[in-house]
Symmetry: C2
Subunit: 311 residues, 2 copies
């Protein structure tokens, strides 16, 4: 799957992943009203509004980008109907040829981690049949529980040719509370990065990159530089661009000299572009076209920064 | 909710939580066959088998214990039908007066953490209505992302009188890889414990205990002793009893002198007791009675250990 990701990045010229994180306040009023009219102000109604919203965005941007990253929390908050729309979104994106990174940040141990890996990347045995549940292409995972939590994912990745991104250094302000603690003379996130590099070696694709990537926030470019060195075979999934403050120029250290090695996420900067001043002229009904324009602007910003840096 | 938990521990004399972690190989054949006959070897069929299995166990043990802990991964692996059975299980347990600890180990930042908190403990605004999704009483949360990930849960806990258990020191063999790293002269899990103690102070119940508890594995009693001191107001949720190797006597350090302060989880040791030699005479059809017998044995084991220690 990492090879397919690289191929699609090359084809689109866009090392970009669009975060499908549909908070209800991003969803245009007319879509919410239509959904509530049909299903009432219920979890089903909210889920329907989210689905219509997602579908509009996916249709508008699927030819421009290699991948999407639905944040499962935004679906989970609408209970079972929300989870059904998560699944529908994953299926629809894959039909459109997009790579789906399930932002699930799961992490547990032993048989529980096996169950999460089966739920999101693998298959589960039911009687004589092997069945897929949510079936994303990649999943994000939390490393706090150590190798016991990661190994079941690696096993599934090898079997199914899928991948994971391990949380190494997150983009949020308080990410330093535990991740930056100095241990054995180095911050914890570096130790997690080293461990991730080892896991990456176990799961190499065909293009010099591993199925095992890492999440490293755009808001910490200095740390990104160090982690880029520590994990030479890992793609970095970089959140924090746009709304969280990261800019194109900040992203350069996350990329390798070949211009690959990183994929940058933007969520509300794309999917709620129509709510920003720069894209307000699209109006609510043009939210999908606004998203398309925002993707194009983001691609140009990153390409310019990489060219300036000679990558 | 912590006060209700304490009340129910006193009423039952059992500081025990039964882990509802229904791996299919634990589910008796006759239940699986009946479910597959009705729904086929499908995710729906698997989910139905799990539901019937859970219901039998809940009916058999609900008067003996204060709380259950469904592990959401075991439901998530069966996709949307699995999530529907997770919800059904939560609802059924709450109807029976049991406290439900959602073992979800969620952890993210900002609005994403808000969405998880809403999904599992709080409510979500849909139009003019506030709706609950899964609506457990407690949830387990992962601290790797720092305070940004925890604060949204604390807010919901205060509003809804619910609670969380923060992963501090987990029971698995590789938990030491990051949790035991020495930082500022102390292991990372102690730093997480200190932060948890601060969060706990912000959310006190009426009986001297906080809504904010901690997960500390039974397999590490020495660390448990230190963490018991560091987090004086937190209930400790202790996994690792039974199948993972923890015994009654190992549990003493996790309790306070008042005999409270800890609640011990057992999953397969209870729900798959009929597969153990000691309970094999119950046979497959008696799996629920076997679970009841195993709960009684666990309660006696813990009570004996606490009495011997004068707690």
């Amino acid at each position: 799957m990492i090879d397919k990701l690289i191929e699609r990045i090359r084809a689109t010229g866009a090392p970009i992943v669009v975060g499908l994180d549909p908070v209800l306040k991003f969803v245009p009023e007319y879509l919410k009203q239509a959904a509530y009219q049909e299903f009432g102000e219920t979890l089903e109604g909210a889920a329907q509004a989210v689905w219509q919203y997602n579908k509009g965005i996916i249709d508008a941007v699927s030819d421009l980008i290699p991948a999407v990253k639905p944040q499962i929390a935004m679906y989970e908050q609408f209970g079972v109907p929300g989870m059904a729309v998560f699944q529908k979104t994953v299926d629809y994106c894959r039909q459109k040829g997009l790579i789906v990174i399930g932002d699930v940040k799961r992490g547990d141990i032993g048989s529980t981690s096996e169950a999460y890996a089966a739920a999101h990347l693998g298959r589960v045995q039911v009687g004589n049949r092997l069945l897929s549940a949510f079936d994303e292409d990649f999943a994000t995972v939390n490393p706090y529980l150590g190798s016991d939590g990661i190994q079941p994912f690696l096993k599934v990745c090898r079997e199914e040719k899928k991948g994971i991104f391990v949380l190494v250094k997150t983009s949020n302000p308080s990410s330093g509370e535990f991740q930056d603690k100095m241990a054995d003379g180095r911050p914890v996130y570096e130790l997690v990065g080293e461990k991730t590099a080892q896991w990456a070696e176990e799961c190499m694709g065909e293009n010099g990159y591993s199925y095992v990537g890492a999440v490293v926030g755009a808001t910490y470019p200095e740390q990104g530089k160090a982690l880029r060195r520590i994990m030479p075979h890992s793609f970095l999934l970089v959140p924090g661009y746009g709304a969280q403050g990261g800019k194109g120029a900040d992203l350069v250290p996350f990329f390798q000299k070949d211009g690959l090695g990183a994929i940058v996420n933007s969520s509300r900067g794309i999917i709620a572009a129509y709510q920003q001043e720069a894209y307000a002229h699209f109006t609510e009904r043009g939210y999908a076209d606004a998203a398309r324009a925002a993707v194009n602007a983001m691609r140009e910003d990153i390409q310019r920064a990489l060219e300036t840096a000679g990558k």
